[in-house]
Amino acid sequence: MEQYPILFGRHELIEGNGFIARVEVAGRALLSKEDGEYWVEGVNPGGFAAKGTGQLEALAAFCVDFRLVLFDIAVDAADFDVFKLEVDKFFHATNLVALQEWEAAVAEVRKGRIDANWLDKRPADSPLWVNVVQISQPKAVHNQEGAAALAA
């Protein structure tokens, strides 16, 4: 099966109940081709997936759905502290099945059997992290675009 171990970064501004938060993540996902379509399954955060007709479309759909999950979390969060707690739980919920395949795909990348010249490479053991910050003093310097890379 055509599979790619992905490392991704997202920076999202989320409006909550009485707060605005910035959610930054460095996570991982598994991009797979199945029946002519591409699926991206979250590894960290696990618990959701997206699809597309091509690799980039699937990754874009995954990023959109990531933000929509944050929207859903925000709806029920009474305050920032609850939102932060729930986002942390979301991120740290590992999709163990996808993780096994992700690690196997990393091994294939290292053997040179998988490559994706449309992605930069990053070390597979790059730190995974989530940071949720309440915005009190917006600054343009905090704006960052997302990124994706092949775990190697």
Partner: protein
């Protein structure tokens, strides 16, 4: 499928996803689609498959669904 493969699972509707809770897992988020509609069963089957993988019940799910 959930009744057979993930007994006790419960679903909570959120604006953009249906959150599926089972055992101690963080919920799996099944997308509801634009405006809360989900009118393409083929897409949903793929998402259900991935949910089954997440919960570790894919083999059971294959016995109940065309996945």
């Amino acid at each position: 499928m959930l009744d057979a493969c993930a007994p006790g699972a419960r679903i909570e509707e959120k604006p953009h996803h249906n959150w599926v809770y089972w055992k101690d897992f963080e919920p799996y988020r099944l997308p509801r689609g634009k405006h809360g509609k989900r009118d393409n069963p083929e897409i949903e089957t793929g998402h259900v498959k991935r949910m089954a993988r997440y919960f570790g019940v894919l083999n059971c799910a294959k016995n109940h669904l065309q996945i």
